[in-house]
Symmetry: C2
Subunit: 299 residues, 2 copies
């Protein structure tokens, strides 16, 4: 990072580096059947914010890690995010046709390919986490990172959140239900990305806990603004069908609390996130800026 | 192992221990939504041969490992096998109603639950592999085992095999195509189970290579006899709909080579597998017995 680089410039540079590494990891190996490789690339290389990998990189760098060591693990977290989108969009689940401004994977390919591409992304993520950073010196850190990330995906994480989200369709959800669903469905992986960055950087217990607090607050702020955008945004801005939550009778923050209270809740979480990384000083500046940008997001 | 224990007794004891550990890993944590936990248990605890976990245990013990250190990783490999069955049975893929003598998961629950239960099993498998055996002393071995197992699942493994299997439906497959599909679809995970056992036991390069040779030969023998059983077996014996391959116009060993030649090919692979573990002497006896039992399997 040059001293004159602004946060948007830095984010753009990190996103470009992530996309470049993803492209490399998913290069044609002349062994993978072409159609599934194409599907996996379609899912992962779609334009996106790359929030989770950026968080892993930013948390890892704030905790003293090297960008080069963190880049492939960051890509692994993005693969897990892409896997979850592909499976959530399936007809048997959210049945969505539009994602990141393009037809969803099962629409553009077919359902079998979408199921298998998601599966492949999940296993490739763990393969990537097991391989990088290379060297036995990183083995214990990698094991811990894999433990944290896999727990965030599973039966007490993202998948539990998706199950609850489906179960609550058309039912009244309390504030506690709603926060639990979002903590699991979105928050767990965001928190795990921050924690994994700190772990791979060799951070101590205190720094790691701070990153987890940051991730939890940021994840909730992100989800609240996501719900607000679903009410206020246009398809062009958010890249998926707006008003979909209401159509599916999904419980959302605006539907339970109203728009104004939801905006205040998001602002409060952003303040929490910024406070969590204060102790990192200038090294935590990027994380703080990312948190602040959540409040004003339009997509 | 007591000296008077026969191979069938020993296999029964190992299977009971695997089932007991799976039951423990999948115990109610009062946090996981009950329905998805029930679905995951339905998929994993269904009666089965537990071939892959038994192979991990047998290979690990032959290479000098402790059963207690190997039990949870063995369960992880069974979870991956169960994940693959659940997703392969889905309507968009093989569309099968019967598995291990019972309704498939999407029939007994619903499609969304089956997709998510498979996803949960895959991530739980990697979580389990990251946690056990416990201790930093195992970190490097666990990283290597996770690398081998995840590679066996992904775009150059099981999932690639499933993609090719679907692509070849109704098409003529050459012997090379057929062997490639089966090597990927079944062979990779069986080979990885054997390799992971050896790796976790701290085996040297030579022992590990021998286990991989054993796994590759055994996997192919297993798949050939699977195809033969699909022609000859009854639903009661094999626990799934017989004649299904022919109905789906799938290329199989009997359809390409005829039954007699298929039987000879299976016998040849069994001999290869037995030869691969000869160097382990009496410690490799269980592996050799498992290979021999493939030829006479009725289920």
């Amino acid at each position: 990072m040059t001293t004159t680089e602004t946060t948007p410039e830095r984010l753009a540079r990190l996103r470009a580096a992530i996309d470049g590494r993803l492209d490399l990891i998913l290069a044609n190996d002349h062994e993978t059947p072409p159609r599934i490789l194409e599907a996996v690339r379609y899912a992962v290389l779609a334009p996106g914010k790359r929030l989770r990998p950026v968080l892993l990189l930013a948390a890892g760098e704030a905790a003293g890690g090297r960008l080069d060591d963190l880049m492939s693990p960051a890509c692994a977290v993005e693969m897990i995010h892409a896997f979850s989108l592909v499976h959530d969009d399936l007809p048997a689940l959210d049945n969505d046709d539009l994602r990141r401004g393009r037809p969803t994977l099962h629409v553009n390919f077919d359902e079998a390919t979408a199921i298998l591409a998601g599966d492949a992304l999940l296993s490739l993520a763990f393969e990537t986490l097991s391989r990088f950073p290379e060297g036995d010196a990183f083995a214990a850190r990698k094991i811990e990172a894999i433990g944290v990330v896999s727990a965030a995906v599973g039966l007490r994480g993202m998948i539990a959140g998706q199950v609850l989200d489906l179960e609550f369709e058309g039912k009244a959800a309390s504030r506690e239900d709603l926060e639990r669903i979002h903590r699991l469905k979105t928050g767990c992986l965001i928190t795990a990305a921050c924690a994994a960055g700190a772990i791979l950087a060799g951070a101590g217990e205190e720094a790691r806990k701070a990153m987890e607090r940051y991730g939890r607050a940021l994840g909730l702020a992100f989800q609240i603004t996501d719900d607000i955008l679903d009410v206020e945004g246009t398809a062009v801005e958010i890249g998926k069908s707006p008003g979909k939550d209401a159509k599916q009778a999904k419980a959302t923050f605006p539907s339970v609390w109203g728009l104004d209270a939801s905006r205040r809740m998001a602002a409060e979480r952003v303040r929490e996130a910024v406070a969590a990384v204060e102790a990192f000083g200038s090294k935590g500046a990027l994380l703080a800026d990312i948190a602040r940008s959540i409040e004003s997001r339009r997509s």
